[in-house]
């Protein structure tokens, strides 16, 4: 089966110019394919570059060695070499990325933050808000909070807004970085169920999860990321 995500010999080094140009090699030679309907969970101790892999796949971090290919519009797009404009289109339609923190926008309500990815794809505003509302309800965000900007929400609530914003849009590729962190048991369950539903609906899911039980709940495959030797 054709992969949705193809990672070939990915390498990433951070060069810290402010600290005398010290080079931190975080990844080297990492390869992985993820097909539609598959959920691959990355397993490794903290600091081994799992989030870096997700960020490279999303095009948030620049790819400096190897390649990342994403199936978008029936073609494979090379994330590292495509134009910024094409990457924006790939993100808008294909890649949903739940990062570890919600980036709140001053004065924009929770409902509008969640509806935004749908509106960006030219869904009618009212239809987008309705869909966003049902996702928020599913994630246990009380309706009286929908009109409030999430800046003052608790960590767990912000995390659920963050997840709602991505899962609402039915992206074919999902990148999930610790989606269950800072959630209570009931909400953790709900989020795990939503991820399994998305996968069964055909999404290719690449996730980072520390909790073994959570991993078992959603993974169709677990991949170990080997720690790198840190060299200056």
């Amino acid at each position: 089966m054709e992969p949705m995500i193809r990672i070939e010999a990915l390498a990433k080094t951070f060069t810290l110019h402010l600290r005398g140009g010290i080079a931190l090699r975080v990844l080297e030679g990492f390869s992985l394919d993820v097909a539609a309907g598959e959920c691959v969970v990355l397993r490794a101790p903290s600091g081994t570059g799992k989030s870096t892999i997700l960020r490279c796949v999303a095009g948030n971090y620049r790819i400096e060695g190897g390649r990342v290919l994403i199936r978008h519009d029936r073609a494979l797009v090379d994330i590292g070499s495509t134009s910024p404009r094409e990457l924006i289109a790939v993100r808008r339609h294909t890649i949903g990325h739940v990062s570890q923190f919600l980036r709140v926008i001053p004065r924009v309500s929770a409902l509008d933050i969640v509806a935004e990815p749908l509106i960006d794809r030219e869904m009618h505003v009212e239809a987008a808000r309705t869909k966003a509302g049902s996702m928020l309800a599913r994630l246990g965000i009380a309706e009286r909070m929908w009109t409030l900007p999430p800046a003052t929400f608790s960590g767990g609530e912000q995390q659920r807004i963050n997840i709602a914003r991505v899962l609402v849009a039915d992206y074919p590729v999902l990148l999930l970085d610790e989606p269950t962190a800072s959630l209570d048991d009931a909400n953790r369950r709900i989020v795990l169920d939503l991820i399994v539903e998305a996968r069964r609906a055909g999404a290719a899911v690449l996730a980072v999860l520390h909790d073994a039980e959570d991993r078992a709940a959603i993974a169709t495959r677990i991949v170990d990321v080997a720690p790198m030797e840190v060299a200056a």
Partner: protein, 258 residues
């Protein structure tokens, strides 16, 4: 969005005597896209904007703009009259200081209505009602339509300037530090407004700012300038989360987070 840039800037340069303000600036701007130009004071970002906006003449390079009716024109070499006409009808320019962008001798309503008259509107009632709608859109009470801008707060003046610049539905809006000098809460309101209006109207924008938070919030792409040159460019989140150039790393690491 269409598949061609609306603006193609190539090799743009400007020197003041021997001091180089901008050197070899190249970028494309696409319809509906927001581009932030960041860098510290003296990096040449305002000179770049002023060259694009026709306030100063560039020494080198081309600024090829695709007109609304189709057809490309190099604004750097176009005749003065033609350039002025195009900029007035199809561009907006929100200045850092509202005193440069507003007319303080006439009412708020006239400030919004004038650009409409300049592009040919003649029906007074219609102009006034459009001005009133735009005041509401930028969250200024329409009852203040006959007040002079000098009685407005800094944030209101800046919002009035935005209304004055968007009322003609420009293709491109230039903004020079639109939130500079405003209180944080006023800044947030203004940013939200700019973000919403730019999206709803499908305007392309070039925003000069030294505030990376403003760039993060508004821009799809960024140019980082230092000593008159572009040292790094790319998607906003790439530049801010994985800066490559030493100077960009310095800028990003200098931001206070709360």
């Amino acid at each position: 969005m269409t598949d061609a840039p609306i603006l193609r800037v190539d090799g743009l340069g400007k020197a003041y005597g021997r001091r180089i303000a901008c050197r070899d600036i190249c970028f494309d701007l696409w319809p509906g896209e927001v581009l932030a130009v960041v860098g510290e004071s003296g990096s040449g970002k305002t000179t770049l904007l002023n060259c694009l906006g026709g306030l100063i003449a560039a020494d080198a390079g081309t600024v090829r703009y695709t007109r609304r009716g189709g057809g490309e024109i190099d604004l750097a070499t176009a005749g003065e009259a033609e350039r002025r006409a195009i900029l007035r009808a199809e561009w907006g320019f929100v200045r850092q200081n509202p005193r440069d962008g507003l007319r303080f001798g006439v009412s708020a309503g006239a400030n919004v209505g004038e650009p409409l008259m300049a592009i040919g509107s003649r029906h007074f009632g219609k102009i006034r009602s459009t001005a009133s709608e735009w005041l509401e859109a930028v969250e200024i009470d329409a009852h203040r339509i006959d007040d002079l801008p000098s009685g407005f707060s800094g944030g209101m003046q800046q919002r009035l300037q935005i209304a004055r610049n968007l009322v003609t539905h420009p293709s491109i809006v230039l903004m020079d530090e639109p939130t500079g000098g405003l209180d944080v809460s006023v800044q947030a309101k203004l940013l939200d407004l700019i973000r919403r209006l730019v999206r709803e109207n499908g305007v392309s924008a070039i925003v000069v700012t030294h505030d990376l938070g403003v760039a993060r919030l508004l821009a799809d792409r960024m140019l980082v300038m230092k000593e008159g040159e572009v040292v790094e460019s790319g998607l906003t989140d790439q530049l801010l989360d994985d800066p490559q150039a030493a100077y960009t790393q310095l800028l990003v690491s200098s931001v206070l987070t709360v």
